[in-house]
């Protein structure tokens, strides 16, 4: 995996663009194709490519989350209207729609009854340019929940969008905090690409449970703010665990 | 009741603690309301009509009572306190407080008069003086061309041909949501658009029960026809439970009503907003009825068929007995005299 920093307007050198004979090159966020064969960066960040998938995109941190189809996100119910929930992904984006029946095994009778303010872990089903964003909490092909759905209890922590992406990638993204923490503490995590992390400390909100959740949240936020490398992260985890 | 200018009063003593009203605070459940409702086996809930409670007052700390409307438990206590200003109503073990004055709370089956505020895709939003606007779905009205006709997309497009913003209608409360929002229907020839008359409203009529004073009482007949003197002809009076009143010229239905001909009677005419011809005499009598009702309200009396009819007759008598100097206006002193005459007679 190569990383080269680029600025908006930079023309990508052709050696960075994966060349494959049988597959078309896929351009990801932050890149723009100008025919016939020029690729320009539209955002500053590092060029990242995946040769296997024949894809290239720009990895960047900061800015707002822009909903992209098939992203997993943590969103908040605003209200229920008609046959949809109106859901907020970020405060800066118009609300998205989540159909009442987009849950695993949901029928009119058995669908989850969510109140305003409840959190859900959902996938962006479609993000059309000029219409409402649609979410789903199950795989529409298989009908399985795949871990999506309402999030009960726990706590939600805000982190930067880039960090959330790194957490999803885990070790590959250079984040080892969760692994390190999980050796000592038991907890459950959901990572939303919209920069929200949900942490739940297991059964019962006993003092230990709450404390662990707070500790996990603090580790993640400090990591994000200070941009710690792996060693720094290990050190941080060691300190926090000692504090418990 | 307007603000009265007071004569200089002697400064009240500071010792309000010894105010006679305070003795009422020690309201004794055994003495006042007893268990009369249950012990006598009455079906009808009984109220302690004379006893007034005010917000925050301890009603009872006996745990056998259940808390109803207008009452609350303070945090970490099982005692029942009143949250409104009103009288106590007991229904078996349920203790509720009926406010003396409140906005209208819709109940299923209420006959109400409303005004269309908003037209939406498949329904109207109707102001009925309740905390929330009531909704009248397109499916809740009789469509012209027979009751069995199906609602079509064309009807949805022409929704304003039936009712439009500002129209008045009389309807029945079909259901009430948990939020307190009412759904109305006009699926009867009794209900529908109002015309040929005069609208007035009586505030603070809500609250329900027997405690309602100076307002419209829920009674068996909310709609009645009054045959007036002085060439006025028949006048329809509709007393909406929500405090809205409609007084209009009586118009005979065009067709004979019969169970089988109901469908035909629903023509587009029902939704016309055009008034019929109304003679001067009729107009004057409509105004008189309105004046009579207003006098009753100002006098703090209940408004129902009996009272309205009686008061109307008294006002006619007074009119004939006197010179016509005061005109037909029934305000102020004259109104008070009408009310007094009704109460004494």
């Amino acid at each position: 995996m190569e990383t080269t920093p680029v600025l908006p307007g930079d023309i990508l050198p052709s050696e960075l663009i994966p060349h494959s004979t049988n597959k078309a090159v896929k351009l990801g966020p932050g890149l723009r194709h100008i025919p016939p064969s020029t690729v320009k960066a539209t955002i500053s960040g590092t060029v990242t490519s995946d040769l296997r998938k024949n894809a290239i995109w720009i990895e960047y941190n900061g800015g707002r989350y822009i909903p992209t189809p098939s992203d997993l996100i943590i969103a908040q119910i605003l209200r229920s209207a008609g046959e949809h929930y109106t859901v907020q992904i970020t405060p800066h984006y118009p609300p998205a729609l989540l159909p009442h029946l987009s849950f695993e095994g949901a029928t009119k009778k058995t669908r989850p009854q969510l109140k305003p303010g409840d959190l859900i872990y959902a996938r962006i089903a479609a993000a059309p340019k000029h219409a409402d964003i649609e979410l789903e909490c199950f795989n529409s092909q298989t009908g399985k929940g795949e871990g999506l759905g309402p999030l009960k209890g726990g706590m939600c922590f805000d982190v930067s969008v880039g960090f959330a992406r790194e957490v999803i990638k885990g070790r590959r993204g250079g984040v080892v905090v969760l692994e390190e923490l999980s050796e000592k503490l038991g907890f459950e995590v959901a990572v939303g690409r919209n920069g929200r992390l949900w942490v739940e400390g297991g059964e019962g909100e006993r003092s230990g449970g709450l404390k662990h959740v707070i500790a996990v949240g603090r580790c993640l936020q400090v990591c994000d703010e200070k941009g710690l490398d792996e060693r720094g992260q290990r050190e941080l985890v060691r300190q926090v665990l000692k504090g418990l | 009741m307007p603000i009265s200018i007071l004569p200089p009063a002697p400064a009240p003593s500071i010792s309000y603690g010894a105010d006679p009203s305070d003795s009422d605070d020690d309201f004794d459940l055994d003495g006042d309301i007893d268990m009369e409702g249950t012990s006598r086996g009455l079906k009808r809930p009984r109220t302690s009509q004379r006893h007034i409670v005010t917000p925050g007052e301890l009603v009872t700390d006996d745990t056998q009572w259940m808390r109803g409307h207008g009452a609350y438990h303070p945090p970490d206590s099982t005692a029942i306190h009143s949250s409104v200003f009103g009288t106590i109503l007991k229904t078996n073990k349920l203790l509720s407080i009926i406010p003396l004055r409140a906005r209208y709370t819709p109940e299923i089956g209420d006959l109400v008069i409303g005004r269309i505020i908003e037209v939406q895709q498949r329904r109207w939003k109707v102001e009925v003086a309740a905390p929330l606007l009531a909704s009248l779905p397109l499916s809740g009205i009789n469509l012209p061309g027979g009751a069995l006709r199906r609602r079509t997309a064309v009807d949805e497009l022409n929704i304003r041909n039936f009712f439009t913003e500002g129209d008045l209608l009389v309807a029945e409360v079909q259901s009430v949501y948990e939020s307190g929002q009412a759904t109305l229907h006009t699926r009867s020839t009794k209900y529908g658009k109002l015309r040929n008359g005069f609208f007035m409203s009586v505030s603070g009529a809500g609250g329900g029960g027997l405690a309602r004073k100076g307002g419209i009482a829920r009674s068996r007949r909310q709609v009645f026809t009054l045959s007036t003197g002085r060439g006025g002809g028949d006048i329809d009076v509709i007393l909406g439970v929500n405090g809205f009143i409609w007084i209009a010229k009586h118009v005979k239905p065009k067709m004979e009503e019969g169970p089988n001909r109901l469908e035909e009677s629903v023509s587009m005419d029902v939704y016309s907003s055009q008034n019929n011809d109304i003679g001067v005499e009729t107009r004057r009598e409509i105004a008189r009825v309105a004046g009579v009702i207003r006098a009753l309200v100002e006098g703090g009396r209940r408004v129902d068929e009996e009272m309205v009819v009686k008061a109307y007759e008294v006002s006619l008598e007074m009119e004939e007995g006197m010179d016509v100097e005061g005109g037909d206006f029934l305000g102020g002193e004259k109104g008070r005299r009408v009310v007094e005459a009704v109460m004494s007679g």
């Binding site: 303010g117 909100e205 709450l210 | -």
Partner: protein, 299 residues
């Protein structure tokens, strides 16, 4: 359109649950402030205050104007607040937010009405000339406790600011630039600071320096403004859940301790800055003196 960030039910329950066990998300005790960081700008009266992520810039400026006709012996002192949209998605430019009006009212009462600033000292010639002092408060980031931060920022800025020196000869007024004469610090009578208590469970839990999330789940707040001499300048409890009168008294006592501690931090930072400037100040003055003769021939 951005909308106000509302906490999810999960966060609400969690924060409250943790508070009931004496835990705060950032690990502080209930009566512990975040670290008050103060830095000064190049000019006098420019102060950047941070309390955790909350950040406020206060700037004092002054000009000479005619005093108000009904207050001939007083200078003019205006406090203006601005919430920048970058602080929170709920803030909009140009539209006054409810919190903004309340913040400016509290500052008004805490500093102006308590006569922390001696406005009479701003008068140059009664009825015709006086200094008009303007304090601009800019909220750059909002993570709770805006009022305490803004008040600390404003009071620090007022102490840091220096107005130009003036000389009055009859009707003639000479205003000296900073080069001609060392500017004069403002005359302050006392230094009020705000302490906001956010309470939960009917006053059983009281938090100091609540973060934005903690503010959103609180039942009510009470803002106490005191100076280190133990004078209460202002108390504001706008509604909220009822609390015991005794709790209010004990909170005022606690506020005094916090105000005294905060005053110490502010004074220390002011002193550091003054020392740093003193060295530069002398150097600058020397340079100015040397420059002057050489400029003369041209003038």
């Amino acid at each position: 359109m951005p909308r106000e960030v509302e906490l999810s039910n999960n966060e609400r329950d969690f924060i409250l649950g943790a508070l009931r066990q004496g835990l705060r998300l950032d690990g502080r005790g209930q009566d512990v402030y975040r670290e008050l960081e103060i830095s000064f700008g190049e000019e006098y009266g420019v102060v950047d205050v941070r309390l955790g992520k909350t950040r406020i810039v206060a700037r004092i400026s002054c000009e000479v104007v005619a005093p108000y006709p009904d207050r001939k012996f007083d200078g003019v002192f205006v406090i203006s607040t601005e919430f920048s949209p970058m602080a929170s998605p709920a803030f909009e430019v140009g539209r006054q937010n409810q919190d903004e009006i309340i913040l400016s009212r509290i500052l008004e009462k805490a500093i102006r009405r308590s006569s922390a600033l001696d406005t009479e000292s701003l008068c140059i010639i009664a009825g015709s000339k006086c200094f008009s002092l303007r304090a601009d408060i800019h909220v750059l980031d909002h993570d709770g406790n805006l009022i305490d931060t803004a008040c600390a920022g404003l009071v620090t800025a007022l102490q840091h600011f220096k107005r130009p020196d003036v000389e009055v000869q009859g009707e003639k007024v000479t205003i000296f630039t900073a080069r001609e004469r060392e500017p004069v610090p403002l005359s302050m009578l006392h230094h009020p600071l705000c302490v906001t208590f956010s309470y939960y469970d009917g006053g059983q839990i009281a938090l100091l320096d609540a973060t934005f999330a903690e503010e959103q789940v609180r039942e009510g707040e009470i803002i106490v403004t005191m100076n280190r001499n133990g004078e209460v300048c202002q108390i504001a409890k706008y509604g909220g859940v009822a609390v015991d009168a005794l709790a209010i008294l004990s909170w005022t006592n606690m506020a005094l301790v916090k105000v005294q501690a905060m005053t110490k931090v502010i004074q220390a930072r002011l002193k550091e800055d003054a020392e740093r400037r003193d060295k530069d100040g002398i150097a600058a003055e020397l340079r100015a003196d040397n420059d002057r003769p050489s400029e003369r021939p041209h003038g």
